[in-house]
Symmetry: C2
């Protein structure tokens, strides 16, 4: 106590000792009094320091219950936290927190979030802490009691002076005990790397299965989805209710809802994927390298995918089944709005995966704080696919060395040429902007050939958009001609019923504008002149280039790719709308009869293509 | 001077004024004395501060020559630097350095390295500096005089207190004048970004050409290589001489040499590439999406490539012609040993590219300091291909967000199964290690089935290697059985006549070992058991997996890919030995008749594959 006083004095803070007895807590009046006393002391900026009043204690053996009686300093602290309705209880130890085994054993891992159901039996407690009476067993018991009575508890090391500060700043320090932990952190005790490594190991087992066995897994998943319809809907309804309470936008809530029809349609699409030709091990190229030496280029799974998606829980089912079809391991991070739906869907799917593959093929990442850890694992994760806002995609692209498949921007152009069919131009321009204004393949900039100003076609196009409620902004030329407010930048994605208009010299001007200001997503020309069309199709360097068709067609399903993994504006690997092939790479398989290189002497290279049997 | 004294006093340093006259320098004795005086002062830690002795100066008009007479403080400084044989002269200005135009003009760019031949006529000098007598014109004149007399000069801003410190730490501050600048920094005045942007613009012009025109460019390059054989050899001989003087390893010098045969073979390979089927615009997939709506997936150039290669100058020709064939822009950085050879080869190739495409299609980066700048440009460079040491590749992979195609490690395994043909096993194992021990596809670890210990096959394999001078290290099992020194790690690439040996349980043990310790480059099984072979081929998850053939076949030329871009151990984009297809991406081209999406109403998706016409 003298030491506490000396230390607090340096901060000009007064500390006061309160010596209590276990028996005192039996008295209701004492408890009330205690609350008031502590409150008054805190108002006076006096720090109460509790300890057991050993001198008058009558206790013989330590109590082992939580009936309001304490049995050491840890349980005293838990008890006080409850009585005083503390916001947080911090228990300081001589180790970083609770480990899965003795902290001195290098195989022991720090548990970041304690989950009673999971950890209670799993943990091997070592010797008790060298300081004070209570060891880690006692601390955990106290922490569990307080946590499940509603007081969050953190056990952390008292040796690092900054730990308390870190805890208060919400950083991941020590071990957290919280009554809801089981709901929101089923995986945080396994490190990100462990998850990725386990997913890769399982994916290798999946790849070793026969094509028929992999197909069967998808059928089992489809059946399991239908069989668990009620459970899925029950969990989904909780998500929907939470979203409505939180005042989430109606359109977002609608995307969250899993109707029986949606579940059955999802099961149907999983079966469709199962019936698809096996994408793994397809021979893409076959060459006779030399007599009796045959080389094949075959399709092969990428390895481990990390997919970060927002809101819609059905995406989880689509992505998981795509990963299984393509033999990949998967780490999934869904939006928090769909937390319960994602958890149940993940469970239903994982339970349907046979033990020979293992339940860790698909890992569900539930806390946002895991993401930065996962993005660092460029040696064990092969591809990240973010499906969500531009901000999400950009943020991921900027923070990871893992290849990212996706698109941050969708600045799509429609160029209306002087040789256009005017009705067609109006139809395409309207559809490209209005069919779904917030989509990444919606038109953001309309480019019009200068000759269309004279014959009033420009005005017709403008009217077609404005009469449907589209707000228009002009480039330097168009804003003068049409008396429109000037667009702040041509590189702007509105994602709403708004777009930029500009007048260009000709098709070359349009191409130049698109190269300068586009995002290489999808661009379209409307013209009846086949030469101009081909010029545009050949020269515009975007992932998708259309002639006389709405930019809205730029989509995996509309392209006929089956399930869509995402749309990529990158140039490496897959580009544009990406189907299952974006989840595959290749391997070179060579079968010989003992051939050696030996300085390329004694081998006659033939390099003959061998036709691939269908 | 009083101000200098006050300032230096604070640092406990004494400063002393030396007032000199232009006429003093005519006296040889004065110059000798001056040297001794300054030396003594510096020994006493006294800072000499020179100024013109205006009071006794007889000069009327400023002198404009460099005969040893100064005409302002800048020329006085240059003169003193020469007389005192300074290591470096720093001229402080009120702007950051020398700009291409008036520093206030936003179009003016800071010149990092001044090249007399290039900049003398190009620069527009503005008003003279507001401080002191000498403007920028005077400074540049003084700097050029000192630099070409052997004293490096930097002009930088005197406003930033840390600039002198930065200059001394070798950071890129201000404008550097050096007599060799023209040799090693022909491009440093154009920023890295400008080079990349110019290469992309030129590549678009190249892509707009007909296939025949692109072919013709390659023919012109081949002709130019032969026509310029003498010049190329002359420059190459200078590189070779320098390398020999520097005591470079003989094998490295040999790789540097460009014989007439090599030049003619290079020209031949460029012509061969010209005759190859045009890789751009090939239709890879064709689908009828709906009636009258046809979708094509076509091959398309990546954009701009950055290739960093070491030593061999012929790589420059191969890479440049591959880039042209695939319609890509290119930035090249070669090794400094091949500086002159690379420069002349680059010039010969660039001169053969027609003006319609432009000379900036292929940029030659000559100074190492440009590389970090280039690696930051992930928005304008699409792919980096490092061809060189593991260290080079790792370093590049760790410092850039641009996708990297290549391999850092080549830890290749040969697994000899119990059912092997022993002679074949010895032949393959010897070739895999000895054909070229430093190659990335050479065997680093030999795995042997445990049954081969009993029948002495293990000993035969060991003898085959040891008798050819291979140093062997054993894993925990093999080191005991064979009494070998223990290998420090299984994840080790020797790159020399050394390798690790380990005994494994069976093919599963081998596969597990390879997944745990390999680099997914090339792995081989030697067995006569077709089932075991297929298991190995299917399950080993490496870029190349061989049955009964040496790992040394893992190579673009031996695979029959034509020119080799590199070997990739990544899983995204191309994998294993990569030919021209690694420099291509895809574009989706859609041709319609005015179709719109309109919520997918009124359109009947057919998604029929259309056969591709050859």
């Amino acid at each position: 106590m003298a030491y506490y006083e000396t230390m607090f004095d340096q901060l000009d803070v007064t500390a006061a000792q309160l010596l209590v007895n276990d028996s005192s807590f039996r008295d209701k009046e004492f408890r009330k009094q205690l609350n008031e006393t502590v409150k008054s002391m805190l108002d006076l900026r006096v720090i109460p320091i509790f300890n057991e009043n050993d001198a008058i204690s009558t206790r013989r053996a330590p109590y082992q219950d939580s009936s309001g009686i304490f049995w050491d300093n840890d349980s005293l602290a838990a008890l006080l936290a409850l009585e005083l309705k503390a916001d947080l209880l911090i228990l300081l130890s001589d180790v970083e927190g609770l480990y899965t085994g003795p902290p001195s054993d290098p195989n022991s891992k720090l548990i970041h979030t304690f989950i009673k159901e999971k950890h209670q039996d799993e943990i091997t407690f070592g010797d008790k802490s060298r300081l004070g009476r209570g060891g880690m067993t006692a601390k955990v018991k106290a922490a569990v009691n307080a946590a499940y009575a509603g007081i969050p508890v953190i056990i952390t090391s008292g040796y690092a002076a900054e730990n308390i500060d870190k805890v208060l700043r919400g950083l991941r320090v020590g071990t957290l005990f919280h009554q809801d932990a089981r709901l929101w952190a089923p995986i945080t005790d396994s490190t990100a790397r462990d998850m990725a490594v386990a997913a890769r190991e399982s994916s290798r087992k999946l790849q070793a299965l026969s094509s028929e066995d992999r197909k069967q897994i998808l059928y089992s998943i489809a059946d399991a989805l239908e069989a668990n319809e009620k459970t899925i809907r029950a969990e989904n309804e909780l998500d929907v209710a939470t979203a409505q309470e939180a005042g989430l936008e109606e359109s977002l809530v609608a995307r969250l809802v899993m109707t029986p029809a949606k579940i059955s349609s999802l099961a149907g699409s999983v079966r469709k994927l199962a019936d698809m030709e096996d994408p793994i091990g397809r021979v893409l190229k076959k060459t006779e390298v030399a007599d009796g030496l045959v080389l094949e280029k075959t399709s092969s799974p990428l390895g481990v995918l990390l997919i970060v998606f927002e809101s819609r829980p059905d995406a989880l089912v689509q992505i998981a089944s795509l990963a299984i079809r393509s033999g990949n391991g998967l780490l999934l991070k869904g939006g928090k709005e769909a937390r319960r739906s994602n958890a149940i869907l993940h469970k239903v799917i994982t339970d349907a995966i046979p033990e020979t593959v293992g339940g860790k093929l698909i890992g569900l990442v539930t806390s946002r704080e895991e993401i930065p850890d996962l993005l660092k694992l460029d040696d064990v994760i092969d591809l990240v696919i973010p499906r969500g806002s531009n901000q999400l995609v950009s943020q991921i692209k900027n923070t990871t060395k893992i290849p990212v498949l996706g698109h941050a921007d969708g600045i799509c152009h429609v160029y209306v040429d002087k040789a256009c069919n005017v009705d067609m131009a109006k139809r395409i321009v309207s559809d490209a902007k209005l069919d779904y204004p917030a989509a990444c393949n919606a038109m953001e900039t309309l480019l019009v050939h200068k000759d269309l100003e004279q014959n009033a076609v420009l005005n017709e196009l403008i009217f077609a958009l404005q009469s449907n409620g589209v707000t228009l902004y002009g480039g330097p030329k168009a804003s003068k001609i049409l008396n429109l407010p000037e667009a702040r930048s041509f590189n702007h994605e509105y994602c709403s019923k708004a777009c930029t208009v500009e007048v260009v010299e000709d098709v070359y001007g349009a191409i130049d504008h698109i190269h300068r200001h586009g995002s290489a997503h999808t661009d379209c020309i409307v013209t009846e002149d086949p030469e101009v069309a081909e010029l545009f199709l050949r020269q515009v360097d975007s992932a998708a280039v259309f002639h006389n068709a709405s930019t809205r067609f730029s989509d995996g399903f509309r392209f006929g790719l089956g399930a869509e993994v995402g749309i990529s504006t990158g140039r490496i690997h897959a580009r544009g709308p990406v189907g299952v092939e974006g989840l595959l790479t290749t391997r070179w398989i060579m079968r010989g009869k003992g051939q050696v290189v030996d300085g390329d002497n004694g081998i006659a290279y033939t390099h003959q293509d061998i036709p691939i049997q269908a």
